[in-house]
Amino acid sequence: MKIKIDGKEYKVKGEKTILEVCADVGINIPNLCYSKNLGLLSSCRVCVVEVEGRWNLVPACGEIVRAGMVINTNSPRVINARKTILELLLSDHELKCISCSRTTDCRLKLASEAAQCDAERFQSNPHRIDGATHGSPPHTAKSADVGRLDKANNYVRRNPNKCILCGRCVKVCAEHQEVGVLAVNGRGFDAHIGVAWGNELGSVPCITCGQCVVNCPTAALEETSAPRELEGQERNTNVEEIKFLREKLGDKGTHVIVATAPSTRVAIGEAFGLPSGTNAEGKMVAVLKRLGFDRVFDLNLAADFTIMEEGTELLKRLHKMTNYDLKTRTFINTQFTSCCPAWINYVQMMHPELLPNVSTTKSPQQIFGALAKTYYAQKMGIDPKNIFVVMLMPCIAKSSEANREGIDHSKEFKDVDMSITVRQLSRMVREAGIDFAKLKNEKYDDPLGLSSGAGLIFGTTGGVSEAALRTISEKMLCKRLNNVNFENIRGEQGIKVAEIDTIQDSHGNPIRVAVVSGIANAERVIKDIKSGRENYHFVEVMACPGGCVNGGGMPVHNDIIQDNFANARRRASTMYNMDQYNNLRRAHDNPVVKQIYKEFLGEPNGEIAYKLLHTTYKPRKKYD
């Protein structure tokens, strides 16, 4: 079919929107709310274009092209309308762009700059800023979050003064995660994003996955890293947290070590203009050393430990039959993974009955923290109180995990002192003026720097299961597998199911594995198990769709058609490639793992391992 855009004729195949067709031919129509993963919102109206024969302007994101359509994307009417719409959005915006954490990747700022907006053209009564509404008192009893910073939740901070009411966060929370703690409250001028009873995020069952944050076009939602020293203090921006970390790095009496999560190495480059999925492991290590971390370690090593412990735990469970007991309403033997802290938050609040079935093995982050403050401290002869453990994470919930009740092995200090996101690190790098792309590759430090490909693929959905299956299969069969790729649990589908013939339970049945990403899919699998439709021995859950590669702490892209899944896909494929070319592909082959078990931990699930590498879970209240 033929259509005309700005006077030039194009041939188009298939069902496409004006926005997509224009992007294909190189016309970038600015938009704030459209995301390929979220479906249509059409709330910002910035992408309006002129279609001949239509009296009103149409949003390009929601209009499917038809044969013979004549589209104008840069007529004076369109340009003026776009400019005015952006200026109206800016009219009640905070306009603190210079001191904003998203100043380099704010969609609103980029679009407004391109449209040459006069940010102060409309001086609206800033109702969302000071709490006063347009002439009417709040008609709700507690419209508390009108105009207030929401800091009750320690890990996700909301700033309604920067909100453009696009509704992306509401949609991702309700539809992808089915948690639904965010909603649009009020109407008209009083409309704002809020939670039940106008309370703060801390009083509703927010699992802090951070999907709302990576989908926010502005800085209305951002992550906070909550180190214990800063607890209870007034922290308005990420700047204070970064400053806190800088001071630790500068303090000679503190030994600051950092461990990098598997998926961070394939994403960090994107914050500095490298294409998504670039393997920037060496540069990332180099930049962390430049920033002053005393030692840079690899979290993949801790992931190898997770496999040893979780795998052993699964082998124990396999000796019993798997099913759901209708009488006691408990799962007798399904084992759920425990690596994803947002998933643990979810289970603690929504499904406390599942807690006995969640693996007691700590996540790699906490295993690393525990080892750093025991084994590493002993080996180096440093008082664990003087070691400051930082985690570089693609995740916001990891901060909540570091502060979770009962996670630390000792009452005197925290195992993990601070967990920062890839975005926060990129801000530190920018602050320090380091040219990331020019850095020479460097290697991880000893003794916690060697890891296997199995640990690496933890960063994508299916990776934990694959890593575990490599180890368990070889243990069960007592022989080496020629092919350790488990292709049928790879890929980005929300629910992947596989039967593994090489491993049997006590009844001789091949074990059934479900790999789940996205909490909405987890809920589906839980329902299937409860109703008896499905039966799994091992269920891997990652809260973010696609796993950590699509985590809440990942760099935000400002592609004209935002597609987080596509970026996640590229990151995942790089990781699988890196694993493929790694000589060390099994957790149990890792010489460092063997050595630490021999020198320090004893055997997997042994007494010391149990004390350091395992935890227990308590149910939590949904609403406060």
Binding site: V179, G180, A196, W197, V204, P205
Partner: protein
């Protein structure tokens, strides 16, 4: 309405009804939307409390504080407005010593804020006190009605 009866009523709404209808039952039963109502509707419909609260705050028919025994609505539609609805509201505020949106201390009267057009523009301006409609009303007529209710209520008190 007992809690059990309310839950039953909401469950009936779930099959073929909507969150909105369930909230209307709550508004009718309790005079306002309370926490129990939001919790129940969220649980029965398997949606989050934030979602139910969002729906409730969208519609002006729902309130989150208990109204007075006599709820006063002064229509602010165009016809009523040009015929002096604004002045009537100010006069009622002075008479009762409350602001629009508030409630008297004895719980007798509440004055609703910004009532949308009630649809009887031919008899504007309109004030609704409790379930009594005052057509083509004036400040004097309205205040007389309020004072009459006050006297009646005083007699009733021992």
């Amino acid at each position: 309405m007992t809690k059990q009866a309310f839950i039953k009523a909401v469950e009936r709404e779930r099959d073929g009804g909507s969150v909105l209808c369930a909230l209307q039952i709550a508004q009718e039963a309790y005079g306002y939307i309370n926490e129990f109502a939001i919790q129940t509707v969220a649980d029965v419909f398997s949606v989050s409390q934030s979602h139910v609260y969002g729906v409730a705050t969208f519609y002006h028919q729902f309130t989150f504080a208990k109204r007075g025994k006599y709820n006063i609505q002064v229509c602010m539609g165009t016809a009523c407005y040009v015929l002096g609805a604004e002045e009537i509201i100010r006069a009622i505020e002075d008479e009762l010593g409350i602001k629009a949106g508030g409630k008297t201390e004895d719980g007798l009267f509440s004055l609703e804020h910004n009532t949308r057009c009630v649809g009887d523009c031919s008899i504007a301006p309109i004030v609704i006190i409790g379930d009594k409609w005052l057509a083509k009303t004036t400040i004097r007529k309205t205040l007389n009605e309020i004072r009459k209710i006050k006297r009646q209520e005083e007699v009733r008190l021992p």
